[in-house]
Amino acid sequence: MTTAAGIRLPVTAIRAIGLVLTLVYAGVVVWMYAKQPKTIAEVTGGLTATVALYHIDQASFDQGLTFFHKDQFAEARTALERADPAKQHGVTQFYIAYSYVRQGWGRVYSDDALYKQARAALERAVAVSPDGKVLVNNDPSLTLKTSDELKAEIDRGLTREAADFNPLRVFDKRP
């Protein structure tokens, strides 16, 4: 039924459309309070990731990997963070965590501050991964291929134990 004023929808259809729109909008509001995005990029990235439309900046990601493989960790993180501003890509966050671990790892002791940042990045990586873990099989330079292994390494680095004083530790391989 149409008039010169435009399309006239039945009242039931209006109510049904309103109900759906309201529930979707309410979902967005609840999501904002539950996820607590800290930047506008995280808001837009998080919402697009919810509907599987989020993409990282591949060029920046590749650049970050190049820096990572050259042990330029600070540069690698800058590029990787640019690639994934919303912190919604598990693999990118995994590499950010890994860069902190490699930078903080030492033959005598590991840098707790960097390891704590690694843990935070790894938690983000796991949180945004659909199956709750990250697996990177296509990078032979990584000793630790999964988020579980990386988590164990970070936990070991942050724990004070008798093994820390073992002099043979200087022969350990960098993860």
Partner: protein, 246 residues
């Protein structure tokens, strides 16, 4: 013939349509926007924070709904009633739920986040709402009173306290310091948010008041009955219909 009988089918349908749009789309959208904006804070560092309402804000929101009901600004029958369809009742329930959330977040946005100031503001709101219930104002007076309440609290939090606790100072701070000569802030703490928080709060309060004005009135509660009467009448007299509606 009652005035209701004089409504044509086209007008009746249009009335029903506009009521459905307002109830199912506009009001929930307004109140949900308020619920979102009410918890919005931006720290001086630019970091976004979405604050969930405190328990006291929930209590105040419930009290506000009570005040709206007593004054006739909120007519539950106009939103949920046995004579309405289940879809219409669901829309009405969503309006009520979003109104409650929006009310809590409006109190959240105009109350300091912590400390003694939060306590003082909460007591102030509680007493004012209590007093409003006792005064039994009509809808118009209540909306006026809420405008003064929310506007005053907004000015106090975002303009006065914001200026007094502004680390960089400014003209407002200098004027207030002169006016309040001899009075010190002592141990009262207040975290000044980024200016954008104040702007968001202002429009949040404004939207909430618009939402309250748009709530269906008592007269609208019987509108569907009038509309159905008009439709029944036109069904018995199809020749009277506009060719477009036939």
């Amino acid at each position: 013939m009652t005035p209701a009988m004089t409504i044509s089918a086209t007008d009746a349908h249009r009335l029903e349509q506009s009521a459905a749009v307002r109830e199912s789309i506009i009001l929930p959208a307004l109140f949900l926007t308020v619920a979102l904006g009410g918890g919005f804070r931006m720290a001086a560092s630019g970091q976004l924070v979405f604050l969930v309402p405190s328990l006291m804000a929930l209590v105040l929101s419930l009290l506000l709904i009570g005040v709206l009901f007593r004054s006739g600004a909120l007519v539950p029958d106009a939103l949920m009633h046995a004579s309405r369809s289940s879809l219409a009742n669901m829309s009405g329930a969503l309006v009520l739920a979003s109104l409650f959330a929006a009310g809590a977040q409006v109190f959240n946005t105009i109350t300091p986040e912590a400390g003694l100031l939060q306590f003082v503001f909460n007591i102030f709101f509680l007493l004012l709402l209590w007093n409003t219930i006792a005064a039994r104002p009509d809808r118009r007076r209540l909306l006026h009173s809420l405008l003064v309440l929310f506007g005053g609290a907004f000015l106090l939090k975002y303009v006065v306290l914001g200026a007094l606790y502004d680390p960089q100072g400014g003209l407002t701070k200098r004027v207030l310091t002169v006016l309040l000569e001899g009075v010190t802030l002592g141990g009262l703490t207040y975290q000044t948010p980024a200016p954008v928080t104040g702007y968001v709060a202002f429009f949040t309060i404004l939207l909430f008041l618009v939402g309250l004005i748009l709530l269906p009135l008592r007269a609208a509660a019987v509108a569907p009955v009038m509309v159905s009467e008009a439709l029944t009448q036109t069904r018995h007299a199809p020749a009277a219909l506009d060719p477009v509606d036939r």
